[in-house]
Amino acid sequence: MIDLIDVTKSYGKGLPALNHANIHVDKGEFVFVVGSSGSGKSTLIKLLLKEIDSTSGKIIVSGEQLEGMKHARIPKFRRKLGVVFQDFRLLRDRNVYENVAFAQHVLNRPNRVIKKRVPEVLTEVGLAGKYKSMPDELSGGEQQRVALARALVNRPEILLADEPTGNLDPKTSVEIMKLIEQINNRGTTVLVVTHNREIVNYMRKRVIMMNQGVILSDEREGGYREA
């Protein structure tokens, strides 16, 4: 599902943010990416989203090679991915329902489909009954659920999460991570960047550990050790 072959990304002079990285993720896998600040985790996510281009190497996501991808192809490609961030990135001036429906409008979905699909996915993330709330009226955990609903509403093959629990308290973090695990259990491939040592150690998933752009370790049922 995701393949990085000898990928390097330099932003300019100095150490590359990603340095000859090799990663292979199968369909349906759940992967944690951990590492200290500045180790290149967000860079990895941006590369996978084709937000930035690699300096060298080869990235293949969902069967599509990202190097040399035509500009017009990028939106179509991104529709196969769902993404959530630490800061939720909801539209402040729209309610929960509209925030999720937004993602369907972007894909030119007809109203009939939107009306059916949005409540469905909101129920899935545990937000049934909060359709009309504005983002500012929600707790952090609820906001992240909206963001997850928005990422999932178009049924992506892969869910990318860049520190999804970074702004949440421990209890809420566990809830959100459980939710992401459920999403993974329904077949979506998941890649989660996180600093949350307890959760990583507790969930016993595959863990890729990075430092200064280099992959230090890649273990099944791994833990988050000191680098």
Partner: protein, 301 residues
């Protein structure tokens, strides 16, 4: 485009305008000024050339011959004048006809004129009356005719023609340069307004791109915003011009009542048959251009 997508785009477009209404208002007003000025210019130039055309039709050049010119020599002159393309039509009036006309006009057919008997006092007043199809060529034609043999004198309505021609030229130059300046300012302001909108909504645009919005989809609300602003900016001056036009015409006619029988203005409906489509296209064009520039510059996906 699906109805739901179209509706979504429309709503976003309106939202953009509402969010930075000050910029929107500034660009609409500039555009309105531009199109208003265009409308004034169009009305003046058209009315002046309408007037000129009527003068051309009604005020002829009169050509008189040297003493003792024979009918053959006169018709020779006539033939040469006829070859000129600016001549619409010409009439010959013999000395006898001129005298008959004068008797009719000034003596009212009374016996006073009988004193002249058959001694035509206008013996040298055989003439051609020449009507032009283009009054700007009048001076050229006059000097051509003055150069012909047997021609004694050419009378022309030089004053009117030159004045009208000059008015039209000055109005055109001044208006066109003002319109061009305002046009550029309008495009600049619209594109600025939309750039501000893009900056304000940069987060939303970022999210749209993550979700997989095409460039087209991201740009559509902004282009729509430009079109809406353009159409509003065109509609305002058109309505104002419509109201102003008739008032201006009746004002001129009452203020300068001498003109009443001389001047006739083009009816407002005739003017607006052209002005409405041109104004709307102008507004639309400004809006499209403005949004095109700013989305090109700021919406690199």
């Amino acid at each position: 485009m699906r109805p739901s997508t179209l509706w979504f785009t429309l709503k976003s477009g309106f939202k953009n305008i509402r969010r930075n209404w000050m910029f929107s208002a500034a660009s609409v007003l500039t555009m309105a000024a531009c199109i208003f000025l265009f409308g004034i210019f169009y009305s003046i130039v058209n009315n002046v050339s309408y007037l000129t055309r009527r003068l051309e039709e009604e005020v002829p050049i009169t050509v008189f011959f040297v003493e003792g010119a024979t009918p053959d020599q006169m018709s020779e002159v006539g033939k040469q004048i006829e070859t000129r393309p600016e001549v619409a039509r010409m009439e010959f009036e013999s000395a006898d006809e001129a005298w008959e006309k004068m008797k009719e006009d000034y003596f009212g057919g009374s016996s006073l004129a009988e004193g002249f008997k058959d001694d035509n006092p206008l013996i040298n007043s055989s003439n051609y009356r020449i009507y032009l199809n283009d009054i700007t060529k009048q001076n050229a034609l006059v000097s051509f005719i003055e150069g012909l043999d047997y021609v004694r004198e050419v009378n022309q309505s030089e004053q009117a023609a030159n004045t009208l021609g000059n008015i039209n030229r000055i109005v055109s130059y001044v208006s066109i340069s003002l319109i061009v300046i305002l046009l550029l300012i309008s495009i600049f302001l619209i594109s600025n307004t939309i750039s501000v909108g893009i900056a304000v909504r940069s987060e939303e645009i970022g999210i749209m791109k993550y979700i997989g919005a095409t460039d087209h989809f991201v740009r559509a609300p902004f282009v729509l915003e430009g079109i809406l602003l353009g159409l509003v900016g065109a509609a305002i001056p058109l309505v104002v011009l419509y109201l102003v036009y008739n008032r201006a015409v009746s004002y001129i006619l009452t203020r300068f009542s001498v003109l009443n029988n001389v001047v006739e203005f083009i009816p407002v409906t005739a003017i607006f048959r052209t002005l409405i489509p041109v104004g709307l296209v102008l507004g639309l064009g400004i809006g499209l251009f403005g949004s095109f520039f700013s989305t090109r510059k700021h919406l690199q996906v």
